[in-house]
């Protein structure tokens, strides 16, 4: 049971539990001093960047990443190599590393920035070299105070040892990396909102087209936006080659991924696992992973890829942790966050809390999300506290439909970005699967789980 203080202090995260045949991004985490330059250098740090600069052309690096089929780890799962290939030709281009991790129940980047910041800087440097970026910016969530300090330290270290600045390692390649703190707005994880924020503006997602920052990004220049975990994979790929990476996992899901397991499970944590090789059942109940639920509790639902993904139920437990496998079953692997709910929890309350989150984090720019999100939040709150009406269920579904027509997956949208359409999956899942719970709330005028 929760033990209060002691080992839970910020900055003293224990190494992630779990077993993985290969550690790609979490290799250094078993060392308590994994965040130090000394440990970094002692464990092969910068060997890959050096190799890339001195032995490989930028296009060779990009080719390895393309071969690796490295899927973006931020949520959308777009192939990083393909994204790089879409970069518009221009004199000036930018690399931005997205470390604004804020999706509820997602905490793997938090771990990486605090525990292996040098790997992040090395990965960002390799990416900048591969795409010829004029400048790289690491945008970190503002609340990651310790992560910000550690990454700044790692950047300072890199300048000190000649891994950043002019003529890095005598290669003729020069690069600056800036660290940009966010200031508390979930929407800035959306890549165009992040760019707006980085330009000193409100985090309003940009309207599409253009669909990709690779065409028009930071300051109007072509920009690659890659997630923290994505670039943290690059040192390994440069060292071992794209083929070696691709030989892990199967299908389009190659390499390993960090899965963040939380909720009503005995051993929440971040687990690096080879993709597609274990199932949700393994992750939640496996001895090396989640170790199951509290005694005499049954699993009622789990969310496979962050709060915005459609819910899964016990019948989905045997799906493997692979991008396409999850998509085919009607949800997404997203940011790799698995939230577990058991039968002691109230599904109405869970759906409401998710809706409330998105309503609070709406940027306010477009109408359906700004107005619809809050409206749904209010109705759900009424139902949860016992003031619901039966007609509220149809109203909820219709409002969801007006934000995300058809309430289908992948979602359609009347909105500018996908934040608004992140509300309907939870609402529709809860209403369709737990309709009786809703009716009980309405009938009894209270939450039956309270």
């Amino acid at each position: 049971m929760p033990s209060g203080l002691g080992r839970t202090r910020s900055g003293r995260r224990e190494p992630p539990p779990g077993r993985c045949s290969v550690r790609i991004v979490g290799g250094r985490l078993e060392h308590p001093d994994s965040h130090t330059l000394e440990r970094f250098l002692a464990t092969g740090g910068n060997n890959s960047f050096r190799k890339a600069l001195l032995e490989m052309t930028p296009e060779a690096v990009a080719a390895e990443v393309l071969t690796a089929n490295l899927l973006g780890r931020g949520g959308a799962g777009f192939e990083a190599g393909r994204k790089w290939g879409m970069l518009r030709k221009a004199k000036r281009r930018y690399l931005v590393v997205n470390g604004d991790e804020s999706e509820p129940a997602t905490f793997k980047d938090h771990l990486l920035v605090e525990r292996d910041p040098h790997q992040l800087v090395e990965g960002a440097s390799i990416a900048a070299y591969a795409i010829g970026a004029s400048l790289a910016v690491i945008y970190l969530r503002g609340e990651f105070a310790l992560g910000l300090e550690r990454v700044q330290e790692a950047i300072n270290d890199a300048y000190r040892i000649g891994a950043l600045g002019r003529d890095i390692f005598g290669s003729g390649f020069s690069l600056d990396i800036l660290l940009q703190p966010g200031a508390g707005a979930y929407i800035c994880g959306e890549e165009t909102a992040l760019l707006e924020s980085l330009e000193g503006k409100r985090g309003f997602p940009r309207i599409k087209p253009p669909y990709f920052p690779a065409v028009i990004g930071l300051y109007g220049a072509p920009t690659i936006v890659n997630n923290v975990e994505t670039v943290s994979n690059l040192p390994w790929i440069v060292e071992h080659g794209g083929e070696a990476f691709k030989s892990l996992g199967s299908g389009r899901s190659t390499g390993t991924r960090l899965f963040a397991l939380s909720g009503q499970v005995n051993r929440p944590g971040v687990y690096e696992v080879e993709m597609t090789k274990i199932t949700f059942r393994d992750l939640i109940f496996g001895e090396e992973y989640g170790q199951g639920l509290a005694p005499s509790r049954n699993l009622t639902a789990f969310i496979p890829g962050g709060a915005s993904s459609p819910w899964f139920f016990p019948e989905h437990l045997d799906l493997p942790l692979g991008q396409d496998e999850v998509a085919k079953a009607g949800s997404m692997l997203g940011s790799g966050s698995v939230i577990v709910m058991d039968d002691s929890s109230c599904p109405v309350r869970s759906a409401w809390r998710i809706a409330r989150f998105f309503a609070r984090e709406s940027c306010g720019q477009c109408t359906p999300c700004r107005e619809g999100g809050t409206w749904i939040d209010r109705i759900m709150e009424r139902i949860e506290i016992g003031n619901g009406r039966e007609e509220d269920l149809d109203l909820l579904l219709d409002l969801c439909d007006n934000i995300s027509p058809g309430v289908v997956w992948p979602p359609a949208q009347t909105t500018i970005c996908v934040l608004g359409p992140s509300i309907p999956p939870a609402i529709s899942a809860a209403i369709s699967r737990f309709r009786d719970d809703f009716l009980l709330h309405i009938k009894e005028g209270r939450c039956p789980h309270a």
């Binding site: 309503a359 359906p368 809050t374 109203l395 027509p405 359609a412 009347t414």
Partner: protein, 850 residues
């Protein structure tokens, strides 16, 4: 270059549309109106309100897309009538109404509200929203002119986009996030912009309202007419709206050629002075035995005729002189020109306050606004558009953003400086070499160059500007000119012949035998007339809507003038001049008489009539006709139509001008009409872009000046043709009118005065305007840091400025002021009297102790 066309299918209809057209405009073109809020045709599309969602075909089938943001593409299919579209639009309307208060009955926008209208058209009959609505304190004054009601706001981003993108003054922005996002100014910094009123015009709900209009009228009680703003010479097209013989508001009409629907606050809120009867001249006045008395028109006109006759009998025709200000409309100007030059027969006529030389150079080579903004290089000479012709500043900003090469020639920094590719200093010792320096800064030769000329520095005689302009034109014979001279109809006054050495039409008209040939016109110049009058060489001085105090004559000097000669004034507003006059005739002011004017591109524009003239005032041409009659020559002018007929016979600028031209255009024809390419039918007004105009029409309006305000009307714009103006007469007239002026040399302790025109100047009209009077700034003096040091003064000290008069003001150090200059700002009218009538006025500074 003809637009490239693409083929698209809109609701099953295959049409050809110019590539790059937003889908919403392509749909407008075929008569399909998609509901909308955030879209505005004059601002960039943001697609935030989501009201205009339609189904658009794409690589993955049809999807809902904002039709304002996406442009047509070859082969694109668009569906606006599907269930999916209906559902999405209904959903957006419901979301917008969820938090919108149900206060339509007390809302100024009620009856002309896009939200109200589109809720009727696309919304459900009743609400499903049972939660508490958002609440904010209201209304919040965000400036002295505008109030904000945040509860009504639908966050469409129009006002904020206008402030940032169009006006370049991001003083209004969103604040907060999500459901709590709201429009806000910062702290105690008010939304202080010359263009602030536009946000009330484009607000699609009742969130932003103009304080002077609040609770003044309901839209369905308003009558309106199409007109032209009467404040400056840019010629913004407006809808003037009135209720119960009082002006209630002015809205900008979206004229492609001119104002793109925008107005400045000076123009928009100018109605407050028209409505202020206390400041108006409401009846004829006669000074008898030292006292001013109200008299009848007959009495006053008789008195004028009498003094004119006496003066002529005593000292000949040239003992009567006429000074105008460019404020009379075209018809009035012509009638007075005819009265002066033909009936009275005096050559001493200047309706342009000395700007005739510039005007003559201008009309020979007038550029349209569009030509100026799309030229290869625009040379701005002695002009700050933001202060003189404010809406041009907005058009210029857009043009510079699109790549216009701007060269500024001014004495001190202006609003152009930040936009200009090159800024060249207009200093007194470099006037001679200026043309050469400017030429060197024009990239790649002289073709397609336009000169924008104004009258920014009041302390510099217009003749100096005229000289520079002529040397520029001599160096670049192909260059065209756009004029930013004031007042509103100064160009019309020139073309009407109310200018030294110019005949009506500014062409080679057939000179009537009686009409005084413009031979000895070198004397006929504002400064010379004034000098002659002061010297007692003029028996009667007639002032046409011209306040001498505002023009730079101190009140004591005006009174002295009144002693020396008979001052006759035609005036709408009381002023030092009207009070010193022997006879004052009440003049119908803007919107009280139908007529026309000519703007700085030479475009003839309609002036609508919306009010009965105040008190006993009459149109200026009626006054001229009455005076002429008493002088025994009725001029054959009994209607405004008579004037039009005469103007046409003068040819030149007026060749081919028929009143019917106005029926086919939103604005009016460029003069001469041969220069005018009317293009296609006028732009259909977007009823959501400028709600008030369309709604008044729907409510049963009064269109006194043509039907073009109909938002859905399309005219047939066929351009009448006329013979091309010949330049021979003009060149001669120009040479005669161009008065050479010595700039002189500044003494040891003297410096050259820079007295820049400002939008808000302390003239009699602004003083009469309760909405705007507070915007006049305090007097202040700005000098270079070096001069301040030499003076031994500190920033913020009080100093005395000594010129033809003395004023006291606070001095500031400003690094952008050249060392040879002393810039005086702030607008007590006394400041204007520092101008001493020399080529370039000089002043000195004294530090005040204590």
């Amino acid at each position: 270059m003809p637009d490239e066309l693409v083929s698209v299918t809109l609701d099953g209809q295959v049409v050809q549309v110019a590539k790059g057209t937003p889908i919403i405009e392509a749909l407008d073109q075929i008569g399909v109106h998609v509901p909308r809020f955030c879209y505005h045709p004059r601002m960039s599309a943001v697609g935030v309100c989501r009201m205009c969602l339609v189904e658009v075909s794409g690589p993955r089938g049809f999807s809902l897309q904002p039709s304002c943001y996406l442009s047509v593409a070859e082969g694109m299919e668009v569906v606006t009538t599907s269930e999916a579209v209906r559902k999405a639009q209904g959903g957006v309307i419901e979301f917008l109404l969820a938090n919108h208060p149900l206060d339509c009955p007390v809302c100024d926008k009620g009856g002309e509200c896009p939200l109200q209208d589109q809720a009727f058209a696309h919304g459900a009959g009743e609400t499903r929203y049972v939660e508490e609505k958002r609440h904010y304190a209201k209304p919040i004054p965000i400036s002295r002119l505008i109030k904000l009601d945040r509860e009504r706001c639908i966050q469409c981003d129009r006002c904020t986009r206008f402030a940032d993108e169009v006006a370049g003054e991001a003083l209004l922005d969103f604040r907060g996030r999500g459901n709590a996002i709201r429009i806000s100014t910062f702290s105690s910094v008010e939304f202080d912009s010359y263009f602030s009123g536009n946000v009330t015009q484009i607000c699609p709900v009742g969130a932003l309202t103009a304080t002077p209009y609040r609770f003044k009228a309901r839209p369905w009680d308003l009558t309106q007419s199409a007109s032209t703003c009467g404040w400056c010479s840019f010629g913004c097209q407006v809808s003037v709206q009135a209720s119960q013989n009082e002006l209630t508001r002015v809205l900008g009409i979206d004229s492609d050629a001119i104002n793109h629907s925008w107005l400045c606050d000076r123009g928009r809120f100018g109605i407050s002075e028209v409505n202020n009867r206390d400041s108006r001249v409401l009846s004829p006045w006669l000074r008898e035995g030292g006292a001013r008395r109200e008299v009848s028109w007959t009495r006053a006109v008789g008195a004028i005729a009498e003094v004119v006759k006496q003066a002529k009998a005593r000292n000949g025709n040239a003992s009567v002189a006429v000074i105008g200000s460019g404020r009379l409309n075209l018809e009035d100007s012509y009638a007075w020109a005819k009265l002066a030059l033909d009936v009275i027969g005096t050559p001493l006529v200047d309706g342009l306050l000395g700007q005739g030389g510039i005007a003559a150079t201008w009309f020979e080579r007038a550029a349209s606004i569009e030509q100026a903004l799309s030229s290869r290089a625009l040379i701005a000479l002695n002009v700050d558009p933001k202060e003189e012709v404010p809406v041009l500043h907005l058009r210029l900003r857009e043009a510079v953003r699109k790549g216009l090469h701007l060269i500024e020639v001014n004495s001190t920094a202006t609003s152009l400086s930040a936009m200009a590719a090159t800024s060249i200093q207009l200093s007194p010792d470099k006037v001679g070499e200026l043309a050469e320096v400017v030429m060197r800064s024009v990239p790649g030769g002289e073709g397609d160059v336009v000169i924008l000329v104004g009258g920014l520095n009041r302390a510099m005689d217009p003749a100096v500007t005229s000289g520079i302009l002529q040397s520029l034109v001599a160096a670049m014979p192909e260059a065209k000119i756009l004029s930013a001279l004031g007042a509103a109809n100064v160009h019309g006054a020139f073309l009407a012949g109310l200018s030294p050495g110019v005949l009506p039409g500014a062409g080679e008209g057939a000179l009537p035998s009686s009409w005084r040939a413009p031979a000895d016109s070198s004397r006929a110049n504002y400064a010379n007339i004034l000098r002659a009058a002061s010297a007692g060489e003029v028996g009667v001085l007639i002032l046409l809507d011209c306040d001498l105090e505002e023009a730079g004559v101190a009140p004591a000097a005006i009174e002295a003038l009144g002693e020396r000669c008979a001052l006759i004034s035609l005036a709408s507003y009381e002023s030092a001049t009207s009070r010193a006059s022997a006879v004052t005739l009440p003049l119908a002011t803007w919107s009280e008489a139908r007529g026309s004017m000519v703007n700085g591109e030479g475009r003839m524009l309609r002036l609508g009539e919306q009010l009965e003239p105040a008190g006993l005032s009459k149109p200026g041409w009626v006054a001229a006709s009455l005076v002429a009659s008493d002088l025994g020559n009725d001029m054959s002018i009994f209607t405004a139509g008579d004037i039009w007929a005469e103007l046409k016979t003068w040819g030149g600028a007026f060749a081919g001008v028929e009143p019917e031209i106005f029926n086919s255009t939103l604005d009016g024809p460029l003069l001469p009409v041969a220069r005018w390419n009317a293009g296609g039918p006028p732009r259909a007004l977007d009823p959501v872009a400028t709600p008030g105009i369309a709604s008044v029409r729907r409510q049963g309006p009064d269109f006194r000046a043509g039907a073009v305000l109909d938002p859905h009307a399309t005219g047939t714009g066929s351009a009448p043709t006329a013979k091309v103006l010949t330049a021979g007469r003009l060149a001669a007239a120009d040479a005669r009118a161009g008065v050479s002026v010595e700039i002189g040399v500044a003494g040891e302790d003297e410096a050259w005065l820079v007295l820049a025109r400002r939008v808000y100047e302390a003239d009699a009209r602004l003083a009469a305007n309760p909405a705007l009077a507070s915007f006049v700034r305090d007097d202040r003096v700005m000098v270079s840091p070096a001069r301040l040091a030499r003076l031994g003064a500190d920033d913020g000290d009080r100093v005395r400025v000594i010129g033809s008069v003395e004023i006291e003001a606070v001095v500031h150090s400003d690094a952008s002021i050249p060392d040879w200059a002393i810039a005086v700002e702030g607008r007590t009218i006394a400041v204007m009297h520092l101008v001493d009538g020399a080529g370039w006025s000089r002043v000195r500074l004294e530090r005040l102790n204590g």
